[in-house]
């Protein structure tokens, strides 16, 4: 185990309005890897991501992000966060959105152009966001998170509803970023997306089912897809 952990949780619990959402999670997300946060909807994926980026307070336990406690102000420069619904300004053009967030991320105008190319929005560059399709909007939101090339990218279902070719290209972009040493935590409720990840964090009902490499999951469960493995693991835990 040479790789360090970009995110480390021990005994993390989160309750919202007294309803427990996450129960006593202990886990690690390796630096420089793509970790898939996989689970059905309602399993707590978004709450865990919000806790990691620091907009959700944890009620118990220790959550360390890039060696700082989650929520530390210094982390705001180091984390790129893409929420499930594309959160950008509808009444601005693509480039106006990115230029504004570039100032906040202390990034440059050149980088804005570079990122627009990366997410393939050159043609929509001067189009107003409210006139874009869902997939295009999602890419604007992703582009905002890439500004300043943060060390950690937390992406909540970034590829849902995208054209398969574009999805393929985005996953390539994610692996390029990981190979440059960035840490990526990507959530999905679609199991076949999990097959593109190195590491997995399987979540169900606010509890962790699996937190190891994908390879080991398939070996342990003697399956050849994460979807089957997910079911196998639930039934194994049920017996234990």
């Amino acid at each position: 185990m040479t790789q360090a952990f970009g995110i480390k949780g021990s005994g993390v619990s989160v309750s919202i309005n007294k309803t427990p959402i996450l129960n006593d999670l202990s886990f690690g997300v390796r630096s420089g890897s793509i970790t898939g946060l996989i689970g059905p909807s309602g399993s707590g994926k978004t709450t865990l991501m919000r806790s990691i980026v620091g907009v959700q307070k944890i009620s118990d336990g220790m959550l360390t992000v890039l060696d700082l406690p989650a929520g530390d102000k210094r982390l705001s420069y180091k984390i790129g966060y893409v929420t499930q619904n594309a959160v950008v300004y509808d009444d601005l053009t693509v480039v106006q959105n990115l230029r504004y967030f570039a100032v906040l991320a202390q990034s440059s105008r050149e980088q804005v152009d570079e990122i627009i190319t990366k997410v393939q929005l050159q043609k929509q560059r001067d189009q107003i966001v409210s006139s874009l399709s869902g997939g295009q909007r999602a890419r604007v939101s992703l582009a905002v998170a890439l500004l300043g090339y943060p060390e950690l990218l937390v992406l909540d279902e970034p590829t849902v509803g995208l054209d398969p070719v574009l999805r393929q290209e985005l996953w390539q972009l994610f692996s390029t970023l990981a190979s440059q040493g960035k840490t990526l935590l990507i959530s999905s409720h679609v199991m076949d997306e999990a097959d593109r990840c190195d590491e997995l964090l399987l979540l169900r009902d606010g509890k962790i089912l699996w937190n190891h490499s994908r390879e080991r999951l398939l070996q342990t469960t003697k399956t050849d897809s994460v979807g089957d493995a997910f079911i196998r693991i639930i039934s194994m835990k049920g017996k234990a």
Partner: protein, 245 residues
């Protein structure tokens, strides 16, 4: 610590958003002028009444319009999720609110200049005191409306609620602020309440400029009170922005 670039980027961003909505901009600038012209027409046969009411209206219209625009814009930011994205970014709460104040302040300057110019030179309002004070006061009132709008947007969950804050917070201030009835002739309790509300001072100052050749101490006190309330509302507004839930 302040991030001046982020503050100005925020102001620029808000103005750019509005620039995609030219109708709103036109309404901000044109509505107060049309209303003032309407009042002048209404009192065509009795200019003394117009002379009494017009100065106060010059403060009230920008105040109300900026209040509505600021509260709705901020509410949209809060409910649309962009506020959370901003709060997760390095921008500070005060940087953000000051950015808002600069953007709306700029609109307020143009609005105040347009309305005052029209009233003074087009509609023939007679002012004994310095005209610049009238304009400064109109501007201070617009900023007050902006700052209060930012503040109350924290207490609204929907745009419907935010719009209701207009009758709830603004109309009482207009009713007992000295426009309809001189403060000294009101029931004592109401007079006391009136002196606790910022718009009272705004209306008082505007009335003073019209009747007095020189600026009295009271006029300056009024300006200081209004600006003090602006600063207070900005600081309270910053407290309502939460970094973490």
């Amino acid at each position: 610590m302040f991030h001046i670039r982020m503050t100005f980027a925020t102001a620029g961003r808000i103005l750019r958003q509005l620039s995609h909505d030219p109708r709103t901009i036109a309404l901000i600038f044109v509505v107060p002028c049309v209303l003032m012209a309407l009042f002048r027409w209404l009192y065509d046969g009795n200019l003394a009444v117009f002379n009494n009411i017009a100065p106060a209206l010059l403060g009230i219209f920008p105040f109300v319009i900026m209040f509505i625009i600021a509260s709705i814009t901020t509410l949209r930011e809060r409910t649309g999720g962009t506020m959370e994205r901003l709060m997760a970014s390095p921008i500070g709460k005060l940087d953000l609110i000051l950015g808002y104040m600069i953007a709306f302040g700029l609109l307020a300057v143009i609005q105040a200049l347009l309305a005052s110019t029209l009233v003074l030179y087009g509609l023939g309002l007679e002012v004994s005191g310095p005209q610049w004070f009238l304009i400064i006061m109109a501007l201070a009132d617009a900023l007050l409306g902006t700052a209060l709008g930012l503040l109350v947007s924290a207490f609204a969950k929907t745009e419907f609620q935010a719009v209701q804050f207009m009758p709830a917070f603004i109309i009482p201030q207009i009713l007992i602020g000295g426009l309809l009835m001189p403060l000294s002739q009101m029931p004592e309790v109401l007079e006391f309440i009136a002196y606790c509300l910022p718009l009272t001072y705004a209306i008082d100052a505007l009335n003073i400029v019209v009747t007095n050749v020189d600026l009295t101490m009271e006029a300056w006190r009024d300006l200081v009170v209004v600006i003090g309330c602006v600063i207070l509302a900005i600081l309270l507004g910053a407290l309502t922005l939460r970094r973490r839930r």
